[in-house]
Point group: C2
C-alpha cells in the first residue's frame, strides 16, 4: 500500500517511519512546502520523495493530513476533490475534529475521509522530532465514523493497528469537549506557568539550577509550537474557554485557602486532587 503524508513532521513523520518499518507501506511519499523541512524529511528517510500535492495523492492509496488544524481545514476539501471517484482513503490527525468534519460534510467524497486523532506526541515539532514507536499503546479516536465508508474505516483501522493504537469512536463534538479537558487545558496551564516563571525569575540561572523534576514535567508542554497550538485553541475555543474558566476558579480556591491560612480547606483541596491517582498511574 502506498502512503502519502501531507506534512511529514512530528506526527506525520513518526507515522511514516513505523508504517514502512512495519510493512504497512510499500512506499511513503510526502508533501512539504517548507524547503528546510522537506530536505530534512528526505535526509532522515521519513519519505522517499517530496511531491506536489496532486502527484502525492495520485500515487497514494492512503493520504494522511498531518498539518496544523487551520491548514488541514483548507486542504481537506482539496484532497477530497482529488480522491473523488477512487477507493483511496483520506485521514487527518488533528486534535480538533468538529471543524474538519464540517469542512468535509457536504463533499461528494466525504465517505473516503476518516476523521482520526492519534493521541500521541511530544513537545517538539518538525521532521527532526519524528521517532519510531511514538504511537505504541496510545489511544486513537475515530470521529463521526458513520459518515465514512466501511472500506475506508477498515484501512484506517489496519493502519492504526500497525501503529499499536487502541482505537475507539466518539462523535466529533464529544471528542472536542473531552480533549479540551485532558489535553488542551494542560497546554494552556503550561504556557502560563512558563510565562510566570520567566517573568518572576529574571536570573535564568536560578531557574535552571533550582528546577526539580516536578517543574520540568509540569512546564514541558510550554515548549509546544505556536504554529500548532494557536489554531487548536482558536478552533476549539468554546470548549477550551469553559475549561479555562473552571480552572481559574480552582486556582482562586487554592489562592484563597493559602491567603486565609485555612489548613483544613487546603487539605481538602489537595486530598480531592489526589483522586487523580485512581485514574492515572
Amino acid at each position: 500500500m502506498n502512503v502519502g503524508i501531507i506534512g511529514p513532521g512530528l506526527i506525520g513523520g513518526s507515522m511514516a517511519l513505523d508504517l514502512r518499518l512495519r510493512g504497512f507501506a510499500a512506499e511513503v511519499t510526502g508533501v512539504e512546502k517548507d524547503p528546510v523541512a522537506s530536505d530534512a524529511a528526505l535526509r532522515l528517510g521519513l519519505v522517499s520523495a517530496v511531491l506536489p500535492l496532486q502527484e502525492c495523492v495520485r500515487r497514494s492509496d492512503v493520504v494522511v493530513l498531518a498539518v496544523p488544524v487551520d491548514a488541514a481545514i483548507i486542504l481537506l476539501p482539496r484532497v477530497l476533490d482529488l480522491v473523488e471517484g477512487t477507493s483511496k482513503t483520506v485521514l487527518d490527525v488533528c486534535s480538533v475534529k468538529e471543524p474538519l468534519c464540517k469542512a468535509a460534510s457536504s463533499h461528494p467524497a466525504r465517505k473516503r475521509y476518516v476523521a482520526t486523532h492519534p493521541m500521541a506526541g511530544t513537545e517538539y515539532s518538525g521532521p527532526w522530532a519524528a521517532e519510531p514507536g511514538l504511537f505504541d499503546g496510545r489511544a486513537c479516536i475515530f470521529c463521526d465514523a458513520e459518515a465514512s465508508s466501511p472500506d475506508a474505516l477498515e484501512v484506517a483501522e489496519r493502519l492504526y493497528d500497525v501503529l499499536n493504537m487502541r482505537v475507539s469512536r466518539l462523535p466529533a463534538s464529544d471528542h472536542d469537549l473531552h480533549v479540551a479537558y485532558v489535553s488542551h487545558i494542560s497546554h494552556v496551564t503550561s504556557f502560563a506557568l512558563a510565562l510566570t516563571v520567566l517573568d518572576k525569575e529574571r536570573d535564568e540561572k536560578h531557574i535552571f539550577d533550582l528546577a526539580s523534576g516536578g517543574f520540568s514535567s509540569t512546564v514541558r508542554l510550554a515548549k509546544s509550537s505556536p504554529v500548532m497550538w494557536k489554531p487548536i485553541l482558536k478552533h476549539n475555543r468554546e470548549n477550551v474557554l469553559e475549561v479555562v474558566d473552571t480552572y481559574i476558579d480552582k486556582m482562586q480556591a487554592f489562592r484563597d485557602a493559602i491567603a486565609d491560612a485555612d489548613e483544613q480547606r487546603l487539605g481538602e483541596l489537595i486530598t480531592e486532587a489526589n483522586r487523580i491517582k485512581r485514574i492515572l498511574k
Copy 2:
C-alpha cells in the same frame, strides 16, 4: 559514620539507601512513629533499627530531619538540645527554609545545624517510595551556611557529594522565594488541573482513555501528599501567594486572547512561553 534518619520516607529512605550502599554510612537507624511505616522501613532495609528519638540521635554522627516542614520546625530544637556540646551534625531536607533557620537561630547548638534542600523527589511518599539514585545529578541548596560551623558544613558536603548532588548556597529568604517560583507553584497548578478535570469529566474512563502523555506529565504532581504540601504552602505563604497571583494573571491573559479569538496575541503569548526551551532541556 553512623546516620540517623528521622522520617525514613521518600527522601529520608532514599538517602538511607544510597548512603549505605555507597559506603558513607556504616549504620543507618531511623525514627518513625507510624507503626506501618516503621515496619516497612525495616522490611525494605532502609534502616537497620527504628529507635526512640533520643537513642537514635545518641548513636548517630549525622542526624537527618526528613519529615514534613511543620513537624521539622517542632523537632529541630529538640534534636539540637540532644546534640548540644557534641560534634554531631544535624541536617533537614525541607523545601521551605526560613522558618527552620528561625526555629534554630537562638539555639546554643545552632552551629551544628546545616539547613539543606536536596531538590529531588517524586509524587509518591512513604518508605515504599524510597529509591536508590534519587538524588544523582540534582541540585542541593545550603541556606544561611555562615551560621553553621565549618566542620558541620564539611560533613554535609561530603554526604551530598556521595549522593552526587550539585551543592550551592543561598540565603534562606532567597531560597524560599525561588522555590515558590520553580517548585511550589507547579504543585498548586497541578492540583488545580486535577480538580478541574475531575470536576468536568464525570466519566473517569474518558480521562483514562484520552489522557495523552502531555496531560499525565502536567498533572503528575497532583498525586503529591497533603501531609507534605499543606505545611509547605502554609509556611511559604507570602512567596507562594505572589506567584499564584502572577500565574492567575497569565491564565487570564490566555483566557482573554482565546475569548477574543486574538490570534496575534495568542501567538505572542505562546512564543514568549517557548523561551523556557532556552533554559530547560
